[in-house]
């Protein structure tokens, strides 16, 4: 089953050609830019200009895969969650191709893409990971934080999600408060590592005491701000690493605590992680420790690019949707859903 997948959920314009779980080609616009055009810097003007680059991205992907649109079995596209105007570009392009070449459309939830990202294979079919449902998915990125029960293919249940800021956003904002630019997550990680990840300040672990699996990071952000306001610039600079480290610990401890609660509540010990924050080595270390004590196992996306927005994972999720006949019935009525929830994408 050859699928052309498109993802334009936020900043990245991405297309991929997949065959089952295998990725034949995957192109993400900004990565190409970084390597070829601007030598490392993506100018802000290029951000979100999906309309201007979608054709180029799709053509490059097909060329890399050495196929033409005629060879496709399906066209898959992300229809949410994300930025409305960006999603629209991908959907319109997908509809256009589907109509011109008489292909069926598959509507994919960006978050199910992240859930499937641990099972994406390269063009040689590696890595080979067996499916052993159910899984507990922890998806953490700049825009999302959620715990999902992934009980069989295309079957999802949200156990908890953020009520305000996402974990990645929380780290970005803390970095900004410390005087660093965007994206701040990697800066915090680096500073924290230099401080051996110690928790010197004991910032509050948001909602840790409340007996549910919801997240909230806006209160932590505010207490961090108040703490910084009490410090002089000198003190701030002197303690930069410890501040970053303590903040990161507070965010990650919360994620780990809630994940542990989810394991206890569901009895599911096989975990999946996905999303941009899942590349953070400290978070991985903490989650691995949790998995060890609970006697479970964990998969991370096998290739780093799969943590970030990419169409490859959309193509793989689409494959499993198509396999059970979940295709778009009416292209005319098919529209973006900016605050799409996984509950709207589960098969039952």
């Amino acid at each position: 089953m050859i699928i052309l997948a498109i993802d334009t959920s936020c900043d990245e314009t991405s297309a991929a050609v997949t065959k089952g779980q295998m990725v034949i080609a995957n192109v993400v616009y900004s990565q190409v830019l970084v390597h070829q055009k601007w030598g490392g810097v993506v100018p802000s003007l290029a951000k979100r200009g999906h309309e201007e680059r979608i054709d180029w991205v799709i053509d490059s992907t097909l060329k890399k895969a050495k196929i033409t649109k005629k060879d496709l079995d399906y066209v898959a596209v992300t229809y949410g969650p994300g930025l409305a105007i960006a999603l629209e570009v991908g959907i319109n392009k997908a509809k256009e191709i589907a109509s011109e070449f008489d292909k069926k459309l598959i509507a994919v939830n960006h978050m199910e893409g992240h859930l499937y990202s641990s099972f994406v294979q390269n063009s040689r079919g590696n890595p080979k990971r067996d499916w052993q449902f159910p899984y507990l998915g922890l998806l953490v990125s700049g825009g999302h934080t959620e715990l999902v029960l992934f009980s069989s293919h295309v079957e999802y249940q949200i156990l908890g999600e953020t009520r305000d800021d996402a974990a990645g956003e929380s780290l970005d904002k803390a970095a900004r408060m410390l005087g660093f630019g965007y994206p701040g997550g990697p800066v915090i990680e680096k500073l924290a590592k230099e401080a051996q990840n110690v928790d010197q300040y004991h910032f509050p672990r948001p909602m840790v005491k409340i007996n549910n699996l919801e997240f909230s990071f806006s209160g932590l952000k505010t207490s961090f701000l108040y703490y910084l306001q009490k410090l002089s610039d000198q003190e701030k600079i002197k303690n930069l690493r410890f501040l970053a480290s303590s903040y990161q610990e507070a965010v990650f401890d919360t994620l780990v605590y809630k994940t542990n609660q989810a394991i206890k509540k569901t009895g599911v010990k096989r975990m999946l992680m996905g999303g941009g924050v899942a590349v953070n080595a400290r978070l991985r270390q903490k989650v691995r420790a949790l998995v060890r004590t609970s006697g479970g196992s964990i998969y991370f996306p096998p290739f780093s690019y799969l943590n970030f927005d990419n169409a490859a994972m959309i193509g793989v999720a689409a494959y499993y949707r198509a396999k059970i006949g979940l295709i778009v019935q009416s292209a005319d009525e098919f529209d973006r859903v900016p605050r799409l929830s996984l509950l709207q994408s589960t098969k039952n």
Partner: protein, 366 residues
């Protein structure tokens, strides 16, 4: 014998009609409101008011507020000068009781010893509709016995009010469990300086500055403000431009605003820049313009005004949109466009201390 009517979408007309009949006969009605369950009697009917006072064990001389059918009728019942009128129009309709000199058109038993009367015009469709049909003021007091806590459900009310008191009730309108809003904020306008006699959910410092002590309260204030401006857009899209530092509660403000449209899944849109929510218009009816789209922007990550080209602001500024823009100070030139095409309200939220925020509202930007 007490009659009970359940308030359902389809039974609304019946409820209003029955209540009107009972009020006209001098009866006592337990009725839902924007705050707690209240007791309605015809405020112009002396005997009905006496019955109410008997129910409440209210000492004589302790005032009872009234619901006025329409803000424009206010001067029929109380003395309103130009200064007071201006303040009243920023507060009402809303969760406030305003104290003014009575014109004695309602029962004197409702007034204070100084001849003042508390008036309410709630932002609550059912009471609005009822009074517009009834065309007379009704009492606005909580359905509890003097000195006891107010009730948010009929179950709790029936549990705590003794039978002999319950016998005085002629009609109960059961609107289910009410949202836990505090009783109204009572504002005395009879002196040159505004005096707050009781703090409700929406607390104010002056008519354009509100005070919040918690995230929840910021939500309540937003809910009130947005409700107020919803019907004042002159057919244009309505845009709230929100400014304030990190952690001041801008997203909480938007969350509160969203409750007016039954939207409960607002999260920070920082990462994607904006989220869009469909408004189920079937549920809105109360003197408001129809809104179809609720759009929540967060310009925190915007570095270059050029980015607006890709952010669909023109699309957002369509009729039927209600738009919230966090970090509105980054709008740059786009600000002029909004000012021209939409009704713009400027919200500035300030940190006062760890808990307290001041929320300033202006219809004209600076």
């Amino acid at each position: 014998m007490t009659k009970t009517l359940s308030l359902l979408e389809k039974s609304k007309k019946t409820v209003i009609n029955e209540t009107r009949k009972v009020l006209a006969q001098g009866g006592l009605v337990v009725f839902p409101s924007d705050t707690v369950y209240g007791l309605l009697v015809d405020a112009t009917n002396e005997n009905a008011v006496k019955k109410l006072i008997r129910f409440k064990n209210r000492p004589h001389g302790k005032a009872i507020s009234v619901f006025i059918p329409d803000l424009n009728n206010l001067h029929q019942y109380v003395q309103v000068d130009h200064r007071q009128d201006k303040i009243i129009r920023t507060l009402l309709p809303g969760p406030f009781t305003v104290i003014l000199k009575s014109k004695h058109q309602t029962s004197k038993l409702l007034e204070s010893e100084n001849g003042t009367l508390g008036v309410r015009v709630p932002f609550y469709p059912l009471i609005f509709d009822l009074l517009n049909i009834y065309q007379k003021p009704a009492t606005a007091t909580s359905a509890n016995i003097g000195g006891r806590s107010p009730h948010y459900s009929i179950d709790s009310l029936l549990k705590y009010i003794p039978q002999e008191k319950q016998n005085l009730i002629d009609l109960i309108v059961d609107g289910g469990k009410l949202t836990r809003n505090k009783p109204s904020t009572i504002v005395d306008l009879t002196n040159p300086k505004i005096k707050v006699l009781r703090r409700g959910d929406v607390e104010l410092k002056n008519p354009t500055t509100y005070i919040s002590q918690s995230a929840k309260q910021t939500q309540k204030i937003a809910c009130f403000l947005v409700g107020k401006y919803q019907s004042k857009t002159d057919g244009k899209p309505l845009v709230f431009i929100i400014q304030g530092d990190l952690g001041v509660g801008k997203t909480e403000f938007v969350k509160g605003a969203a409750t007016n449209f039954q939207i409960t899944n607002i999260i920070s849109p920082t990462f994607v820049v904006y989220y869009e929510y469909e408004i189920n218009t079937g549920k809105l009816e109360f003197g408001t313009q129809k809104f179809y789209k609720f759009i929540h922007y967060d310009l925190y990550n915007i570095e270059d005004a050029e980015e607006f080209r890709y952010l669909g602001l023109d699309e957002a500024l369509k009729d039927g949109s209600i738009v919230f823009i966090e970090w509105g100070e980054k709008l740059g030139e786009e600000y002029k466009k909004i000012k021209k095409q939409a009704k713009a309200i400027y919200i500035t939220i300030k940190h006062i201390d760890r808990q307290t925020r001041e929320i300033h509202v202006a219809e004209q930007g600076v």
